[in-house]
Every structure is written in C-alpha cells, then in structure tokens.
C-alpha cells in the first residue's frame, strides 16, 4: 500500500483505519471466540459446580455414613476388646487344660510303664506258677506226710488214752477185788464161827452120846472108838482149818499191802471218798498234783481239799463236782468240760477227772476219783487247731493267686486271648479249681479227724436245706439229662443239727449220684422218718454201681472204685469218708446196696440221722480210719 506515495494522507489514514478495523475485527473475533470459550468454560464450570454440589452432598452423606460406621466401629472395637479378653481367658484355660493333659499324658506314660512292668511280673508269675505248682506238689506230699504223722500221733494218743483207761478200769476192778477179798475174809471168819458153834453142838452131842453109852456098852465102846476117831479127825480138821485161816489171812494181808502199794504208786491222781464224800484215801500222785499231804487230807470233805474253778476262775458249784454227781446219780461221770484247780502255790492247771462210784452189795459205799493234769493235752489240741488253720492259709494263698490271674486273663480283662491260649488257660484254671476242692476236702478231713471242727447245732429244716443243695446241683443234673425226683415227708420236725455238716452229707451223697449216673439215667431222692427219733434218707440211682469186690472199701479215705476212675477224674475219694465220719459221729448209720454188672446197674444209699444232735460227736475226736 505504501507504493502509492503521497497520494493522500487520508488514504493512508483510511488504510490505516482499515487495517485497524481489520485488526479490530480479528480481535473482536478472537474475543468472540474467547467469549465463546469463556461461556463454554463457564458452562463447564457450572456443570462442574453442580457436579461438585452433587459430590459435596454425596460427601455429606458419606460423612454421615462414615460417622455411623465409625460409631459401629467403636462398638465393634469394644466388642473386640471383650472378645480379646475372653480369648485371653480361654487361652489361659486352654493352657490349664494343656497342662492337665500333659499331667494326664505323664500319668498315662507311668501307667503304660506300670502295665509293662505288670506284664513282666505276669510273665514272672507265670514262670513262678510252674515253680509254685511243683512246690505245691511237694507241699501236698508234705501235708500228706504231716497228716499221716498227725494221724499216727492221734492214734498213739488214742492208744495212750486206752492204756490209761485200762489202768483206770484195772483200778476199779482191783478195788472191787479188794472188796471181794474182804467179803471172802468175812465169809471165812463167819464159817469159823459156824464151825466153832458146830463144835459146841458136837460137844453137847458127845455128852448125850456118853449118856447113851451107858445104855449099850458095845455101842458105847463102838461109839467111843468112833468118837475117838471123830475127835481125832475133828482135831486134825480144826488144826488144818486154823492153819488155812492163818495162811489165808497172811496172804490177804500181803495182797492188801501190795494193792495199797499199787494204788499209792499210780501215776494219775487217785482219791477215794466214803459215801458222804469224806476222803479216805489219796495216792502219791494226787498229793503231788494237789499239793496236799495225805495225812492232812484224809478225813476231810473232798470239796474242801479240791476246790474246782472254771476257765475264767469262777468256782464250780458243789452240785457240779464229779464226786457229788456220782453220789447223786450212782453212775460214772466224765470230766467237766473245763475244770481247773489252783494249788496253794498259785499254780493253776486244767484237770481231767473221772469219778466212779464204789458199789458193794448193790450199795454205793463211796467214790473213786482219778484225775490228771492235762496242760500238755491242751497244748496238743491247740497245736492241732493251729496246724489246720495254718495249712489252709498257706495252701490256699498260691491257689488263690493262680485262680484270680487266670480268671482275669480268661475274662479278657487285659486283652483277648486266641483260641489255643483260651483252651490252655482253661485247663490251668480247671486244674487249679480241682486243687482248691481237694485242699478244701483234705482240710475238712483233717478238721474232722483232729477234732478241731467247731460244731454249732441249731434247729434246722432238713427239707429246705436239701432243696438248696439240690438247686446248686441242678446245672449238673440238667447237663447229664437225668430224670431227678425228690420228695421230703411233710411235717418233719426240725432237726437239732449243725447245718454245715448236714449240708456236707447231703451234698456229697447227691453229687456222687449225679456224677456216677450215665446220661439220661434216673435218680430218686427221698427223706422220711426211720422211726420217731431218726430221719431216713434214701438215694436211688441207675448209675455205674460199685464193683462187688470193692464194696468194702468205698468209705475208705482216698479210695476210688476202678469203674469210675476213668469216667470222672475229678473225684477226691474223700466224700464218702467225710459223710461216714459225720454220720457215725452223730449217732447215725450209712449203708448201701449196689450192682455194677448186668443190665440193671445202680446203687441205693441209705443214711439215718438222729433228729437231735447231728454234728455232736459221741467222742470229742474222731478215730482216723
């Protein structure tokens, strides 16, 4: 534009203006654009502001929510704290439980160790058992030997007692003989008197004869001669008689002195009284035993010389003194159950006293009392009792041990056994049971034989007792399919019996019938009265019977008949021996009939027992068979 120099200034201005307008336009446009942009921006801002408002509102809401969340968080935190506390406590408890568990575990470990130890002990027990069994066998042998010795001792005692008894009897006999001799002397003396009287009569007759002589000289002479002869004979016979009397008297005196010496020297105390109880004779042994001199004692009342007292030291009343009882009853009286005598030197000892009446011409003219110190016998009795109780304790203790451990093993208490182990252990257990039964039976025998059985009779209903025994045997009866019947007479009176002994009788008789009767056999058991004072038991079976040649032995201790030995190995051979001992000592009887050959075999056992006093033995001890 500058190319047109000086054309005009206005042109130039116009041009400039135009340029300026153009610039203005461009600026305006730019401004418009900017305005537009601004508007857009404003709009955007407005939108943003709105959005912001929305956001703010949302934020407000969020804040509220946040507040509520915060609050719930606070609550949760509190809860958490509580929970934490609880957890802490639980942890403690757990710790406690853990400790207890640890203790329990430790205990279990100990228990396990103990169990291991027990197992070892059991093993050793098992080994020991074998040893014990061997020892038991030895002990059993020893027991048998001891039993035999005891039996021998018992027999010797019995023999000694018998000898003493015979001495005592001899004494009584001697006394009687003395009495008889005295009587004879009296008779001789009376005869002499009669002879003298007769002589006097003869003298009178002589006188009358002399008178008659006057009548017939021949006769007189004859008579005189006869008389002379008679006189001679008479004189001779008188002299002989005199001589005889002298001799007799002398020998009687000798005999008397001898017998008095015998009486004086008897080892047992001997004391004789007259019919009033005054002492007339006391021997040396009695002097020594009683600590009394014969000179002082003779003439006094026996009860003043021998005050007796019982076990506790209380005086025994006079009426119970053997001498008074003899004088009252006129019968021999055995010793009191326990009479003691205390000497002046305070020595006290038990006495066995046997008092017998002295009877002359049917009248009691006095008593003879034989007595001795039985301290030693008492000691023997005590030793016997102690032997039985000790033997029972010693023998049964190892048996109990075997029993109990075998039982626990068999019961599976410490774990199951296999079939073989079960079977073997069963054998051990059963054999041990047999041993227990055998020991029990042997102890019963020993008690019976040694007289240490304590017998306690009481009124007993035999029917009920027998029913109980049968009930115990019922499983065996059922197992053998036996036909069994029992009848007991109604209204039987009560027996005065020791139920334990009566039971042993019933049990043995019944179990024998059951054991020795083959399957499906028949057994009939009845109880009736034999007579008003005795009951009768009858046991009939269709069993194997007892061989004829062995029937005499079946009550023998340990005997078992040949035909049952292999059928039942469990028997002890003691049952019938025990039964017979009890029955016979109670005053009863036992017998049987039996057939072991042919088609109908079987046995019938009979037992009678008195209604009173079963178990009260006639003697204090049984005699061993």
């Amino acid at each position: 534009m500058n190319t047109r120099p000086l054309t005009s200034a206005s042109d130039e201005i116009i041009l400039n203006l135009k340029v300026l307008a153009a610039e203005k336009e461009s600026v305006r446009r730019k401004l418009a654009v900017t305005a537009a942009k601004l508007a857009a921006t404003a709009e955007k801002l407005a939108v943003t502001a709105r959005e912001k408002e929305v956001v703010r509102r949302k934020l407000a809401v969020t804040a509220e929510e946040k507040e509520s969340v915060r609050r719930s968080l606070v609550v949760t935190a509190a809860k958490l704290a509580t929970t934490a506390e609880k957890l802490a406590m639980t942890a403690k408890e757990k710790e406690g439980v853990r400790r207890k568990l640890a203790i329990t575990a430790a205990k279990l470990a100990v228990t396990a160790e103990k169990l291991a130890a027990t197992a070892k002990e059991k093993e050793s027990v098992r080994r020991k058992l074998a040893v014990t069994a061997a020892k038991l066998a030895v002990t059993a042998e020893k027991l048998a030997a001891t039993a035999a010795k005891l039996a021998a001792t018992a027999e010797k005692l019995a023999a000694t007692a018998k000898e003493k008894e015979s001495v005592r009897r001899n004494l009584v006999v001697t006394a009687a003989k003395l009495a008889i001799v005295a009587e004879e002397k009296e008779v001789v003396r009376r005869k002499l008197a009669i002879t003298a009287a007769k002589l006097a009569v003869t003298a009178k007759e002589k006188e009358s004869v002399r008178r008659t002589l006057a009548v017939t000289a021949k006769e007189k002479e004859t008579v005189r001669r006869t008389l002379a002869i008679t006189a001679l004979k008479l004189k001779k016979s008188y002299e002989t008689l005199e001589k005889k009397v002298l001799e007799r008297t002398k020998s009687l005196e000798m005999a008397h002195a001898k017998e008095e010496a015998i009486l004086l020297s008897i080892g047992d105390g001997l004391l004789a009284t007259d019919e009033k109880g005054n002492i007339i004779f006391i021997n040396k042994a009695a002097e020594k035993l009683l600590g009394q001199k014969s000179k002082i004692a003779v003439g006094k009342k026996f009860s003043d010389v021998i005050p007796l007292e019982d076990e506790k030291g209380a005086p025994i009343p006079l009426a119970k003194h053997p001498v008074n009882m003899v004088l009252a009853a006129g019968m021999a009286t055995a010793a009191l159950p326990a009479a003691y005598y205390k000497r002046k030197d305070e020595k006290r000892f038990p006495l066995a006293i046997m008092a017998t009446p002295v009877i002359l011409g049917g009248k009691v003219i006095g008593t003879i009392k034989v007595f001795r110190d039985i301290t030693y016998e008492r000691e023997i009795d005590k030793a016997k009792t102690e032997f039985v109780s000790l033997a029972s304790h010693q023998l049964r203790t190892p048996l109990s041990t075997v029993n109990w451990y075998a039982e626990m093993l068999l019961a599976g208490d410490v774990g199951a056994l296999n079939e073989k182990q079960q079977k073997y252990l069963d054998e051990v257990y059963r054999s041990n049971q047999r041993m227990v039964e055998l020991v029990n039976a042997l102890l019963d025998v020993a008690s019976l034989e040694l007289g240490t059985f304590i017998i306690e009779p009481e009124p007993t209903d035999i029917c009920t007792l027998t029913e109980n025994v049968i009930a115990e045997e019922t499983p065996q009866i059922a197992a053998r399919k036996l036909k069994f019947s029992f009848s007991c007479k109604k209204d039987l009176p009560l027996m005065q019996a020791d139920p334990r002994l009566l039971r042993m009788v019933m049990q043995n008789i019944l179990s024998n019938a059951v054991k020795y009767t083959p399957e499906k056999g028949t057994i009939a058991f009845t109880i009736t009265l034999a007579d008003p004072k005795h009951i009768l038991m009858k046991m009939t079976d269709t069993g194997y019977g007892i061989p004829k040649n062995q029937q005499g032995q079946i009550f023998t201790k340990l005997f078992r008949a040949d035909n049952v030995r292999d059928k039942d190995t469990d028997g002890t051979g003691l049952g019938l021996y025990i039964v017979k001992s009890i029955v016979e000592n109670s005053g009863g009887k036992i017998w049987f009939t039996s057939t072991s050959e042919g088609e109908r075999t079987g046995s019938i056992f009979y037992v009678t027992l008195p209604l009173d006093k079963v178990g009260v033995p006639a003697a204090t001890t049984l005699k061993p068979h």
């Binding site: 027990t118 002990e121 027990v125 009792t385 039985v388 109780s389 029972s392 304790h393 023998l395 049964r396 203790t397 048996l399 109990s400 041990t401 029993n403 109990w404 451990y405 039982e407 626990m408 068999l410 019961a411 599976g412 208490d413 410490v414 069963d426 257990y429 059963r430 049971q433 227990v436 020991v439 029990n440 102890l443 019963d444 008690s447 240490t452 059985f453 304590i454 334990r500």
Partner: protein
Amino acid sequence: MGSITGTGAHIMNIQKTILVIEDEKSLRAALVDILLLSNFRPLEAKNGREGVVMALEAHPDLILLDLIMPEMDGRVTLEKIRADVWGANVPVLILTNLSATNGQPMDNAMTHYLIKSDWKLHDIVQKIEDVLDA
C-alpha cells in the same frame, strides 16, 4: 467251673473308693487291677497297721480285709476301725484263706466273710457292688 464273662460297664463305681488291706503282693495287685477295671478308686495297704491309718484318713466306701497279716492281723485291724465313729458302720469284706471252720462269727452285719480260694474276682466285684447298693 464255667466260663468267665468280661467286666461290664461299671460307670456308677467311679466315685467309690475301696481300701484293699492285704499283705500278699500278688493278691493285692490282682484286687487293685480288677477294681480299676471296674472303675473303682482302689487304695492299697500292705498290713493292718497301714490299713487302719488309711481307713481313718481316707474314709473309703468299703474295705477289703485280709486276716492273717504281719504287724497287725485282720481281727485287730477290724476292732480298731470299728472303734472309730466313722468306722463303726463302714462295710468290710473279710477276704481270707483261713478256714471258715475256725472263724468265730464276725462283729456285725456290715462285715462279710469270704474265702479267697472259693471266690472269683468278678464275683467279689459283684459282691462289693451289692453291698454298696444296699
């Protein structure tokens, strides 16, 4: 002798204390074992003197008592226990091998007399339970 059946559940026994007074170790151990198996709480004493002390201290529910023992025998032990106010009525099972033929009758109805070799362990447990139940 028949077969032996296992020990059943003896849940009720758990609080019951049984004092075993027995000098023979093997027998005592057997008794303790069976009592534990039957859930009893057994206590052991190896003679009468120990037994009296334990009985009067622990007051067991029942006592198993042997008779022949060293130091103090069963008879004296029983007398001492019975002399105590508590002991006068505690049930006692005399468990002995002493022949019953020699045994004088025992003191009272709370005393029972059993022969060891005639009694099975499980029957003894049964007897204990019967006595305790009564």
